[in-house]
């Protein structure tokens, strides 16, 4: 913080004190102004904000104490320093109790004054820095909002609000990247458990034994390396919500343990015998076909019924294409802030490209594409050629240096693959005669594929 960034107001009815302080701070480069009484001070407080205010305790009219109270009502973070003569040290102590940063007894040693003002500035800087950082962190790291106005999403949100207030277990289904965790958080934050934690466990990320200790915790010495007792995630989620992501990936033993916990709301830590009671709500998510897993016997039927009480199915992004511009815009603004870049819009062509793309990776992929475009963006607007789609079939097949013949060959091979080598079907799709297709198969030596 440069001295000229610090605004100091001096309020004192004695002109010599006011002016000598003004001069002292001016020579150090601070922005200084003075007021001869409370009325003038309050007026100046309305005109601009001040970092540090020196207040004479004894002034005609409203005294320094009363003025300080009013100042703190206007801006509670402003640093106030009382000016007093020996006689009113008691009043200074009262001022300190009411939030003054410090007080000076006239006359003050120049060195003490230098220290005082440095400390006051540090204090003020920390206050405003803290406030600024908090805001920044909130803006940058706040969980993504669920964005969109499509009918498909509205239905999802209706189901979210329908189930949030209840304590029912929720199963969220949807392709990877459709925002299952966001929906879980939305349910939690609209539920009565919102003031307690939501603990996320990605079941697919742990080996069986590790998941067990992660969920239930362990006692000291439960296994080699268990040097300390550790609370599990379920304990941490007490009174809150447990979000079990990728529930379709847990092994048989874990399924059994989980079933027991869900039924009894009790468990023991690994290596322990003390029963721990917990109160949590379960929300789980999967992109697997659990019914198929149940039929095949790899997922317990009883656990399936326990978990699948209320089901919410998230539509893939391609089924709600009308939301794509809104979501893309949201990510663009978010990255513009975190990357400190002045990018504010997509060109119409870029938006069209985004809307037409299939989005196999859903919103996660959209986020990735926008982030990549933001890194390379040069102007205020993201152009179509600044977007790249790593999984786009069209980009790999048609935008290379391939000759027309190569493209034709690839396309025929793709169609034959799709029809499992059925030439009649392929010819129909390609809108050519079977004979022509046979000739082309011959020409491009695609016979192997045909078989």
């Amino acid at each position: 913080m440069k001295p000229e960034d610090t605004a100091i107001l001096i309020v004192d009815d004695e002109v010599s004190v006011r002016e000598s302080l003004r001069k002292w701070f001016q020579l150090d480069g601070y922005r200084v102004d003075t007021a001869e009484d409370a009325v003038e001070a309050l007026k100046k407080l309305q005109e601009q904000s001040w970092d540090i205010i020196f207040l004479d305790i004894k002034m005609p009219g409203m005294d320094g104490l009363e003025l300080q109270r009013r100042i703190k009502q206007i801006d509670k973070d402003v640093v106030t320093i009382m000016i007093t003569a020996f006689a009113s040290v008691d009043t200074s102590i009262q001022a300190l109790k009411e939030g003054a940063f410090d007080y000076i007894v006239k006359p003050i040693d120049p060195d003490d004054m230098s220290h005082l003002i440095r400390n006051a500035i540090d204090h003020r800087r920390l206050l405003s820095e803290n406030l600024r950082l908090r805001r920044q962190i909130e803006e940058i790291s706040s969980p993504d909002k669920i964005i969109g106005e499509s009918q498909a999403l509205k239905q999802v949100m209706q189901r979210v609000s329908a189930v949030a207030e209840t304590d029912s277990t929720v199963m969220i289904r949807g392709e990877s990247g459709t925002g299952k965790e966001l929906v879980a958080r939305a349910i939690h934050s609209s539920s009565n458990r919102r003031y307690f934690p939501i603990v996320t466990i990605n079941c697919g990320a742990y080996a069986e034994g590790l998941l067990e200790s992660e969920l239930f915790g362990h006692e000291k010495g439960a296994f080699t390396g268990a040097l300390y007792q550790r609370r599990g995630r379920l304990e941490m989620a007490d009174k809150g919500t447990v979000f079990l992501d990728e529930i379709g990936n847990i092994g048989e033993k874990m399924q059994m343990d989980l079933l027991r916990v869900i039924e009894t709301r009790q468990f023991t830590r690994l290596g322990g015998d003390k029963m721990i009671n917990v109160d949590f709500r379960i929300i789980c998510a999967t992109n697997k076909d659990l019914e198929k897993a149940v039929r095949e016997g790899s997922f317990r039927e009883d656990l399936y019924y326990r978990l699948n009480v209320f089901s919410i199915v998230l539509p893939p992004l391609r089924d709600r294409a009308s939301d794509i511009p809104l979501i893309a815009q949201h990510f663009m603004l978010k990255f513009a802030q975190s990357m400190n870049k002045n990018v504010t819009e997509f060109s119409p062509n870029a938006l069209e490209m985004l809307t037409k793309y299939e989005w196999p990776g859903n919103v996660r992929e959209l986020r990735n594409v926008v982030e990549r475009a933001m890194v390379t963006a040069k102007g205020r607007r993201i152009e179509a050629d600044e977007l790249s789609f790593p999984f786009s079939s069209s980009s790999s097949d048609f935008f290379g240096d391939d000759s027309l013949e190569d493209v034709e060959k690839k396309h025929i091979r793709n169609i034959l693959d799709r029809t499992n080598g059925n030439v009649a079907q392929a010819a129909q799709i390609l809108k050519i005669s079977r004979l022509t297709l046979y000739n082309k198969i011959e020409k491009f030596q695609l016979k192997k594929k045909e078989s």
């Binding site: 001295p3 004695e14 002109v15 010599s16 004190v17 002016e19 000598s20 302080l21 003004r22 001069k23 002292w24 001016q26 020579l27 150090d28 480069g29 000016i83 000076i104 006239k106 006359p107 003050i108 040693d109 120049p110 060195d111 004054m113 230098s114």
Partner: protein, 206 residues
């Protein structure tokens, strides 16, 4: 209009400092000096309760008495100076004005119970004088540790810094001295002293 008037304020114990001071001002600011006695009434600056002298009052009298051929005045006093809010000051100056004053009172080693050191005291006076004159040319305190414009609240602080401006401050001083010269004698006198005299009852920047 180019002269810096060096003015002893009150009775002085010696005058050995005059030539080195004139030399330092010439070397630093490129300005010639004149040593003159002004009619300064110290009793008006005396505060009987504090037993110190109000430097603002001394400044006012110095500025009011500055002759037309003077662009700046530097008073040198032996008495202890103060401003109302602080227990003491080593010196005072008008920011962007004509007047400055420095006191030897707290620059003597004897003040701190140490053996007299004439050479050290002279060095401190030169630093304090250049510092205060720097303010009159519009410069504020500098954070370079060796720059003469670094703020000093203890005499030890004065000893830490050099008698020179840092490069950045020196650049500003050269520009401001040149501007001051260009401004012309009559106008400069009117601006600097006019303000000071007008605000006699309400102290200028003390």
């Amino acid at each position: 209009m180019d002269y810096v008037y060096i003015v002893p304020v009150g009775s002085m114990k010696g005058d050995f400092w005059i030539d080195p001071l004139a030399h330092a001002i010439m070397r630093t600011f490129g300005l010639k000096t004149r040593y003159r006695l002004f009619d300064i009434d110290l009793s008006r600056a005396y505060d009987a309760r504090r037993r110190q002298y109000d430097s603002a009052e001394i400044l006012r009298q110095l500025i009011a008495a500055l002759p037309p051929d003077g662009c700046r005045v530097l008073g040198v006093a032996e008495v202890d100076l103060f401003i109302p809010i602080l227990t003491f000051v080593f010196g005072e100056a008008q920011l962007n004005g004509a007047g400055s004053v420095a006191s030897l009172h707290r620059l003597h080693n004897e003040f701190y119970g140490l053996p007299a050191d004439k050479h050290l005291m002279l060095e401190r006076l030169l630093k304090e004088a250049v510092h205060e004159l720097g303010h009159t040319f519009g410069l504020i305190h500098c954070y370079e540790p060796r720059c003469v414009l670094k703020s000093s609240t203890y005499v030890e602080d004065i000893d830490q810094k050099s008698v020179e401006f840092c490069d950045a401050c020196m650049g500003k001083i050269r520009a401001n001295v040149a501007a001051c010269r260009r401004q012309g004698k009559a106008e400069a006198v009117k601006t600097n002293r006019g303000n000071a005299v007008k605000s006699y009852d309400v102290p200028p920047i003390v």
